[in-house]
């Protein structure tokens, strides 16, 4: 995660204050992370209105649930980003409002490499996950990252990678287990 330790400490302090219903701290927290969070919601949803709604919902959840944060759930920033990610995916699922721009992305993916997972993201991800993504085959990695970053369903991944859905499912399953074994080492 790009947040430094001192920033994580600061976010932790703000979260604690928010759990005590400190509205000023809540606003400060919003100022600090809403840009990153909105970037994520927008990336997942590719739809301004849905992303805005997800961002609202995420902050409302953070307000109500700040006290439930604990370190097992990751650093404060990633916990809050995870809330936003789940919320965005929920809204996407419930509306089945898939991004209209999706098709252009899909063409890119068929060309391999670029598209939704641009090179910087791919390498950043690999570095962050301690290189474990490197142990995956290209298709395993792409299927996993497409699901994660773009909220693609199995069907959509299968379309994006022009592969049968059963194959995609097994790429994802096996890929995740390779990752797990690697991350546990």
């Amino acid at each position: 995660m790009v947040a430094s330790n001192s920033e994580q400490d600061e976010l932790m302090g703000l979260l604690i204050a928010v759990s005590r219903e400190d509205r000023q701290a809540f606003q400060q927290l919003y100022k600090k992370i809403s840009g990153r969070m909105f970037g994520l919601c927008l990336k997942l949803a590719s739809q301004q209105e849905l992303a805005e709604e997800a961002l609202q919902d995420a902050f409302i959840q953070i307000w109500h649930r700040a006290a439930e944060y604990h370190s097992d759930r990751g650093a404060p920033l990633s916990w809050m980003m995870t809330i936003a990610r789940y919320r965005t995916l929920d809204l996407m699922r419930s509306r089945k409002a898939k991004q209209t721009s999706g098709d252009s992305y899909l063409e890119h993916v068929e060309d391999q490499r670029e598209g939704p997972l641009d090179v910087s993201l791919r390498s950043a991800g690999a570095a962050e996950l301690t290189g474990c993504f490197n142990e995956l085959s290209d298709v395993q990695r792409d299927s996993i990252l497409l699901s994660y970053y773009r909220g693609f369903t199995h069907d959509e991944v299968s379309e994006a990678l022009s592969s049968p859905i059963g194959t995609v499912k097994s790429w994802i399953r096996r890929g995740l287990m390779v990752l797990k074994r690697c991350l546990e080492r």
């Binding site: 809403s34 961002l55 700040a66 789940y86 919320r87 369903t153």
Partner: protein, 237 residues
């Protein structure tokens, strides 16, 4: 389905990834409620994958988002002066179900929809919200409270009948202690429950309702025995 370690491991990863859908997702959420091991497995992936989330480029949201958040959290302030002001000093929530947080994170259930209504005229804040489900566009039930007589109204919208031999039971999840049953709720039409003072008090503190799946006629023990299907938080209007 048996909870073998291999299955938990696989499903937790797919759950966090988002590739677990529909019934399988719901079933896995009930596993999370039941088992610390399952939750830990989910958190493992949330932590690991969470590292990827900071890599996304920032985009400044429009200022209207912040005002909407304020309006949704503190509606009383954007309306006329209202006695609902006390809502702001509410103590932080203590959930009865430890796994509420996960369920909410999973958000298959979550956010109650704020129904915009005129400022309440009564001296008591009124609750409103919706019980929703991720894969259903319309809310399952809309919940509202009438000003008089501590009456809680549930209007069935997209709720479907419980499986054969089962009933839905409605609960207030208090900040502390056991859930309070509000009885079995039917699917279809409008259902009203009169809240006792104790129930009203508990609800005004926690603002949390839950629905569990129980044998016909409701839980035989007075506590939820079946899976918790939905948890919803109400808003004060």
């Amino acid at each position: 389905m048996k909870k073998t370690p291999e299955r938990i491991e696989r499903l937790a990863a797919e759950y966090v990834l988002g590739s677990l859908h529909g019934l399988a997702r719901k079933r896995f959420e009930s596993w999370m409620m039941e088992s610390a091991k399952v939750r830990e497995e989910v958190w493992f992936w949330e932590r690991k994958f969470g590292q990827l989330l900071g890599e996304v480029p920032e985009v400044t949201p429009p200022t209207s988002v912040w005002s909407s958040i304020e309006r949704r959290l503190w509606p009383a302030e954007s309306l006329v002066e209202s006695p609902a002001g006390k809502a702001q000093s509410r103590a932080s929530q203590r959930w009865f179900w430890p796994s509420w947080s996960i369920l909410a994170t999973a958000a298959a259930l979550v956010m109650a929809v704020v129904l915009m209504q005129p400022a309440p005229q009564s001296s008591q804040a009124q609750f409103s919200g919706a019980i929703v489900q991720a894969d259903t566009k319309d809310p399952l039930w809309l919940v509202s409270e009438t000003g008089q007589g501590n009456l809680l109204k549930l209007r069935s919208v997209a709720a479907s009948a419980a499986e054969t031999g089962k009933d839905y039971e409605l609960w207030i999840v208090p900040e502390n202690g056991q859930p309070l049953s509000l009885g079995v709720i039917p699917v279809g039409g409008l259902h009203q429950v009169t809240l006792t003072d104790t129930a009203r008090q508990a609800l005004s503190q926690s603002r949390t309702l839950a629905i569990s799946l129980e044998p016909v006629g409701g839980s035989p023990t007075g506590k939820p025995t079946g899976p918790i299907l939905h948890v919803a938080q109400l808003y004060e209007l």
